[in-house]
C-alpha cells in the first residue's frame, strides 16, 4: 500500500517537473536545466558524503570526465553516439575505481585531499590537452545527435534531465534501502565496529565511491548538451565547495535534504545577487558554519521535526 502510494507520488512529481519544461521561457529553461544537473550531482554526492561518510573533492572531476569523454568520443572521434555513451560511462567507472582503490584507504580528511589532488590534476590535463580537449577554451559547436531517428530538443531535453534526476534518486534510494546502504552507514558511524560485524569495509568503500562517481559522470554527460559547450572552470574547485555546502545545509545523509539544499543554494544567488552582489558567497559560508554548529541535520532535519510534531 505504501509502495503504490510512493510510486504514485513519484510519478506525479516527475510529471509536474516535466510539465514545467513546456511552460518556462528560454532563460528560465536554462536556469531550470542547470538546477536539475545540480540536483542530480547533489543526490549522488550526498550518498558518498552523507551516507557513506567519505569527504571527497573529486565529484565534479568525474562529471568533467563524463562530459569531456562524450564530446571527444562522439564528436571529435565521430563514434556512434550509443557507443560513445557507453564508453564514457565505462571510462568514468574505471577511473573512479582506480582512484578509489588507494584513496579509500586514507582516513578522514586525507581522502579529501587525495581526491582534491586528483581533481586538480584532471583540470590540468583537460586545460593542456591541446586540440583534443580544446585547452582552456574548451569545446563548442557540437549538437546532441539523433538517436534512432529521434532528435531530442527543447523541452524534451529538459524532460530527459528530469528523468536523469529521477533515475539517480531511484538508484540511490534502492541502494540506501539495501544491505549495501546499511553497510555504508555503519562504516560512516564506526568503521571498526562495522568490520567487527562482518562488513567488508574496503569493498563497500570502493563500491560507494565508484558508483556515485559514475553517477556524477552521467550527470556530466547530460550537462555537456545543455549549452553545447564545455570548458575546464566548470569542473574546478569552486563548484565542489558549493556542492559540499548544498549537502551540509540541506542535511547530510538525507535525499530530500540534498534536493532542498541544491535547489536552495542554486536559486539563492538569483535573489541575493541584486541585493548583496558577490557577497552571497559570504552568506553561504556563514550558513554552513551556523548549520554545523546549531542544526547538524540541516534543512531536512527541520522538515522532519515538523512532520513528527504534526503526526503526534
Amino acid at each position: 500500500m505504501r509502495g503504490t502510494r510512493n510510486a504514485l507520488a513519484s510519478l506525479v512529481a516527475i510529471f509536474a517537473a516535466s510539465a514545467l519544461a513546456f511552460w518556462l521561457g528560454g532563460y528560465a529553461t536554462d536556469v531550470y536545466r542547470k538546477m536539475l544537473i545540480w540536483v542530480a550531482l547533489a543526490l549522488s554526492y550526498n550518498f558518498l558524503f552523507g551516507i557513506a561518510g567519505q569527504v571527497t573533492f573529486s565529484h565534479f572531476a568525474f562529471a568533467g570526465i563524463g562530459a569531456y569523454a562524450i564530446v571527444i568520443l562522439a564528436h571529435k572521434l565521430a563514434l556512434p553516439f550509443a557507443v560513445a555513451f557507453i564508453l564514457a560511462i565505462v571510462l568514468c567507472a574505471v577511473l573512479a575505481f582506480i582512484v578509489a582503490l588507494p584513496s579509500t584507504r586514507l582516513e578522514g580528511f586525507y581522502l579529501a585531499l587525495a581526491t582534491l589532488a586528483f581533481s586538480q590534476l584532471v583540470l590540468v590535463v583537460i586545460s593542456e590537452g591541446g586540440d583534443l580537449t580544446g585547452g582552456t577554451g574548451g569545446i563548442a559547436n557540437y549538437r546532441l545527435p539523433s538517436v534512432l531517428g529521434y532528435a531530442i530538443r527543447g523541452p524534451w531535453y529538459t524532460i530527459l534531465l528530469v528523468l536523469l534526476v529521477a533515475f539517480t534518486l531511484w538508484t540511490l534510494r534502492r541502494l540506501d534501502d539495501s544491505v549495501f546502504g546499511r553497510a555504508c552507514r555503519a562504516i560512516r558511524d564506526n568503521s571498526v565496529a562495522a568490520a567487527a560485524m562482518g562488513v567488508d569495509v574496503r569493498r563497500i568503500k570502493v563500491l560507494a565511491f565508484t558508483l556515485t562517481s559514475t553517477l556524477a559522470g552521467l550527470a556530466g554527460i547530460a550537462y555537456a548538451y545543455i549549452d553545447n559547450v564545455i570548458n575546464p572552470p566548470v569542473f574546478g574547485l569552486e563548484n565542489i565547495f558549493l556542492l559540499l555546502f548544498m549537502i551540509i545545509i540541506g542535511g547530510a545523509g538525507s535525499h530530500i535534504g540534498a534536493i532542498v539544499g541544491a535547489v536552495f543554494l542554486y536559486l539563492a544567488p538569483f535573489v541575493l545577487e541584486p541585493i548583496v552582489g558577490h557577497g552571497f558567497l559570504l552568506v553561504f559560508g556563514v550558513l554552513v558554519v551556523l548549520t554545523i554548529l546549531f542544526q547538524p541535520s540541516g534543512l531536512a532535519g527541520l522538515l522532519n521535526r515538523r512532520s513528527v510534531r504534526v503526526a503526534t
Binding site: G279, L282, G285, V289
Partner: protein
Amino acid sequence: MADLLELVVSATASGCIYALVALAYLLILRPTSVINFAVGEWAATGAFIGVAVQTPLAWPGLDGPYWLALLAVPAILGVLGWLVDVLTVRPLIRRGASVTSPILALLGVLVIFREGLTIVFGADPLPSPPPFGFKRIAFGPFAGVSQQFLIVAATFVLFAATWLFFERTLWGRACEAVALNRRAAALMGINLRRVTTFAFVSGAAVAGVAGLLMSPLTSAHYLMGLPLAIQGFTALVIGGVGRIEGALLGGLVLAFVEQFGARYLPIPSGLILGFPFVLLMVFLFLRPSGLIAPREAR
C-alpha cells in the same frame, strides 16, 4: 651556472613560504587533529593587512613602516584565529562532535575569509612594497631579489623559535604532550582548551606572516589563499606531520621539484602545474608518514 644558482635562491624562497604554511597547519593539526584548510586564506589576510598598514592603497591615510606591519599582521591574525576557535571549533569540541565537523566548519570559515577580503579590499590584486626595495643582492655565488633573502632568514628564525618553544619551554612540552596523547595529557592536568586556543592563535599568526612575506613577490590577491593552502598541505605530507622539521623539508622539496621540473624537464609548462598534485598523491598513497618519521613517545 649563474642561472642554476638563481633558481636555487628562488626555489628556496618559495619553499620557505610553503614551509611556513605547512607549519601553520602543523601547529593546529598536532594538538587538535584538525586539518585547517583556511590557513591559505589566513595567509592572504596577512598579505592584505601588510598592504593596508604600509600603503594608503587600501586604507587611506595610513602609511606605516614595515616593522609596524610585521607587528600588526601576527597580532591581528592571532585575534582572528582566537575568534575562529572560540566561535566555531570550541563549541563543536565541547559537544563531542566528530573531528570532521570542525574541518567542514573551517571550510565555511575559508569562504567567509575569502569573500570578506574581496568586500574589504576589492577583487583586484594590490602590490605590496618590499621593505628593502627591488634591489638585487648577492651572498657569495647566490644572487636574488632582497625579498627572497628576507623570506629565507625570517623562515629560519621562525622555525628555530618554534623548535626551541616545543623543546625547551614548559608550554611547548605541554602542547607536545597533547599531540602525543590527548587523554593522558588531560589527566596530567594540562588544560586542553587553552592548548587548542594556543594552536589556533599561533597557527593563524604564522600563516599571516607567511602571506606578508610572500606578498611583495606576488602582490596581495584574494585568490592567493587556496593554492597556498594546497601547496602548504603538500609540503606537510611530503615532510610528514610528525615533526616540525618535516614542514621545512617538505616545503623545500616541493619548491625544488616544482621549479627545477619547470626549468629542466622536457614537458609542456602547463603540465608542470600538475606536478605538485602527483607528488601529493604519491606521498599520500605510498608514504603517508612523510620523509621524516614521527617521533615515538619517550
